[in-house]
Amino acid sequence: MQIQGKAGQRPTDVYFFATCVIDQFFPGAGMDAITLLEREGIRVHFPQEQTCCGQPAFTSGFPDEARKVAAHQLTLFPENWPVVVPSGSCGGMMKHHYPTLFAADPARKAQAEALSSRIYEFTDFLVNVLGWQPEDKGSNCTVVLHTSCSARREMGVHLTGRQLLGGLNKVTVAQQDHESECCGFGGTFSIKQPEISGAMVEDKVKSLKATGAERVVSADCGCLMNILGHAAWKDEQEGRKTPSLPGEHIASFLLRRTAK
Amino acid sequence: MSARDRILAKLNAAPVLPKAAPDVAAWYAAHRSAESTAEKVARFRGCIEFAHAEVYAVTQASWPQKLWEVLAAKQLEKLLVAPGTAHGQRAITVLSESGIHCRAYEQSIEDWKEEMFHDIPASLTAARGAIAETGTLVLWPDSHEPRLMSLVPPVHIVLLDAKTIYNTFYEVMTAENWGGGLPTNALLVSGPSKTADIQVTLAYGAHGPKELIVLLVGDEA
């Protein structure tokens, strides 16, 4: 799928689909991802009309509603540029579920398939399209990486985040137990089954903290919302004033480490 | 309409597109290579020993002696044999001289079920063949060596000819055309009976034989 990624075919322009979670809750992560791409000499286009990929309705069993929202996004990327998505989860929705979502609508299905081939998860884009090699300007630190289930199992990009962090020579990447296990977010799952979701995020935060890493990074803000939300809640419960598990989007971490 | 007709009618009403037949042969051709007898023996042995079977390399001439040694070492004084087979006859001849009682499986099980369940410590049967990949014995019970012979006695001793070891289950069933007809009961046995049903802790001798002993008959040394 890396049409633009072959040697010498570095794209000059990309679209940026921020995701509604980043737009509303983690705008800094979006800014950092854009800054990083621009620093590499790429023109980043942010279609102002973008809203949400439609995944919340899709996974909740409301495909008609998801289709309406997804159909709107289909129209936003007319040029044949890569579409960079700073989330494996929303990227997976656009890349893998759009074509089946519009299976009964030939015109939109063709659009969805064309778009699908241009969707790149952010870390995948950095590694496999840009061949980006970060140069570490920071001091020694240890982080732990959480990869979303969609990035891992739908997009198959669970290695690129690790590869990027591995290229930072003063950063140690700690290994948590049960790394590939879900953090328990799962969209509406977290509110429909709060006991189970709560148990999952509790275990996830425990294993992340047990590594002793000073922060968690992830390429998915949905997971971060869940993981950091639980860690902060636990801090409140136990009267800690400073966060016991700070975290951020991998774009923010990479940008800071490589700032000139 | 019977339940049968209703079920079939519902299935037949479903809009099902036929799918291409799977190419099982191609997968095995690509993933399993042919091996020499020696290689197959080594793999068979490694696997079945890993599953807690005991294996002894013997020859056509020496196996009765090894059989006696095994029984003696385990202090087994009685052995269930099939008198209608050549190896059964040979066991009877050799063992009767050494004080081991050979019980012949001659009547229907109904006539001696109690004794079979309570008073037979060991049995001897032959294997039809084996599978190297998984360390598996192929048993085809018949009128001489009935089904329970390899199941109820706590110690099961099996004679296996090294030349009859196949590479895979797929290979043995296709080479021997099992699809064309099977006996009333065909068995693959890959070790003594076991279970991990209590706290995933492995324990042997759950319901079938507690010990499985293979006398692996190879060429004369």
Partner: protein, 476 residues
């Protein structure tokens, strides 16, 4: 958890049952440990990713090919089994299946039935049916025996007693088995079970078993097991009754080796099970043992409903290895009983609605984060997450005429549907979205401190004061 275990409306009380386990650190740890063990065992069986993936593809092809010909294969199986002397029965419902089995038992004036492991017999609640007419149905798989002795149900399809510790089993044996002293030595416990059950095999009138694969071309019933109880159940008693779902059928014998290999490696991480038992007929005139009668009961129980739909049909590809539950973070947290259905875990969530209807099972499909671990390990590539989303849709959509599934619309709520419709209206319109998100970023009352279930273990979600689109505007 036992007080909730026997619940016939699985959706009711699911959250309460799940909560019981989640709040029990001891159970949490013991499920986690057992699942980790099984996950690691499986991994050692698949050292080559290429082999694993091509074998899974082959397994999927075999299952889809055979499902594609299912009605014809059932007829072929029936013909060949009949020719081999095995009597074939058909049952649409659990009641019909029980009536057939009890009829055979009564014809033989049976008092004792020994059972090899059969999830289908759990599905039809055969033990209750036997009890009602005074026939003792005795489980002989060690895990099933333990669970039956405790008056419980299996909590895992492969490891029925995985929720119990050896100390609990020691206590159970000491209390329930005559003349047994307390011992928590696993070998000794197994030998106690062996001794008790051997006497049952000796005198049982009927042996009951499940079926792992039924081979149409040769008329053969295949059983996979480690203990030997399956062989004893199908060999020692004078009558053997096998029961299977109609989907467990393959046309060719050579379809069996790949499926067997996938099954044992995925289930318990064994390259093969101790026994693979292939039954093609009752005792012949010159044979000295084996049952003189063999019966097969083919059960529908909702399978034809799944079969009727292209996507839902994939549910029937399942070979019951249990790998999906071993790898499921939800199953790992709550164990098998919380589901309240015969089949727990991911496979339970997608098969049970066909057996019990969506009314009774509507909650199950929501109990998934759609993490995809189940689909990733499924040896026959059942797209479990996609099926869960489909079941959510079937459940939440407004009830309509000619539904694909029994109980379609059982989870329908006018309010929830309106919320999603409103959501779609906002998110499909850039103007409305911009207005809404702008308001949310500026007015705190739109995001209260108490956000219901979310804030039970998390801090509240707070929109950033400036959205990404605002920051971009500021920048330019």
């Amino acid at each position: 958890m036992s007080e909730h275990a026997l619940n016939f409306m699985p959706s009711e009380g699911f959250r309460a049952r799940a909560k019981d386990v989640v709040e029990n650190p001891f159970l949490r740890q013991s499920f986690r440990g057992a699942m980790d063990f099984l996950i690691n065992k499986r991994i050692t069986q698949f050292p080559s990713a290429e082999e694993l993936e091509t074998l899974r593809t082959l397994g999927e092809q075999i299952r889809q090919y055979n499902l594609g010909k299912l009605p014809a294969l059932l007829v072929q199986l029936e013909e060949n089994l009949t020719r081999n002397g095995i009597k074939v029965h058909w049952a649409e419902t659990p009641d019909e299946a029980n009536a057939i089995i009890l009829g055979i038992c009564q014809k033989h004036s049976a008092k004792l039935m020994v059972k090899g492991k059969s999830m289908v017999s759990e599905e039809i609640e055969l033990n209750h049916a036997c009890e009602a007419v005074g026939i003792e149905a005795m489980e002989s798989d060690m895990g099933e025996y333990i669970v039956q002795l405790a008056g419980e149900k299996p909590s895992h399809i492969i490891m029925p007693a995985i929720h119990k510790t050896k100390e609990e089993i020691a206590k159970l044996f000491h209390e329930k088995v005559e003349g047994v002293d307390y011992t928590d030595n696993v070998d000794e416990l197994i030998q106690i079970g062996r001794k008790v059950l051997r006497e049952k095999f000796l005198v049982a009138d009927i042996g009951l078993s499940g079926v792992n694969f039924a081979v149409a071309e040769s008329g053969t019933l295949c059983l996979v097991e480690n203990e030997g109880n399956g062989r004893l159940s199908t060999t020692a008693p004078p009558v053997h009754i096998a029961i299977t779902g109609i989907e467990k059928i393959v046309e060719k014998l050579d379809h069996v080796p790949p499926l067997l290999s996938l099954l044992t490696r995925s289930a318990t991480g064994q390259n093969i099970s101790t026994y693979f038992n292939m039954i093609s007929g009752p005792r012949k005139a010159d044979e000295k043992d084996g049952p003189t009668e063999v019966h097969l009961v083919l059960l529908d129980n909702g399978r034809t409903q799944a079969y009727a739909d292209e996507q839902l049909r994939k549910t029937l590809q399942c070979i019951r290895c249990g790998a999906c539950m071993n790898h499921c973070p939800v199953y790992t947290r709550i164990g098998g009983h919380a589901y309240g259905t015969t089949y727990p875990g991911p496979i339970g969530k997608i098969i049970s609605p066909h057996m019990l209807g969506l009314e009774a099972t509507k909650t199950m499909a929501t109990a998934s984060s759609l993490c995809g671990a189940c689909g990733e390990v499924c040896p026959v590539r059942i797209p479990i997450p996609d099926l869960l989303m489909r079941l959510r849709e079937e459940s939440f959509s407004e009830p309509h005429a000619n539904p694909t599934m029994r109980g379609q619309g059982a989870g329908y709520s006018r309010l929830i549907t309106m919320i999603w419709q409103a959501w779609a209206t906002v998110y499909r319109s850039p103007t409305l979205y911009r207005t809404y998100s702008w308001l949310a970023s500026r007015f705190n009352w739109l995001t209260p401190a108490n956000q219901g279930p979310w804030t039970s273990v998390r801090t509240p979600l707070k929109p950033a004061p400036k959205r990404l689109r605002d920051l971009l505007k500021d920048k330019s």
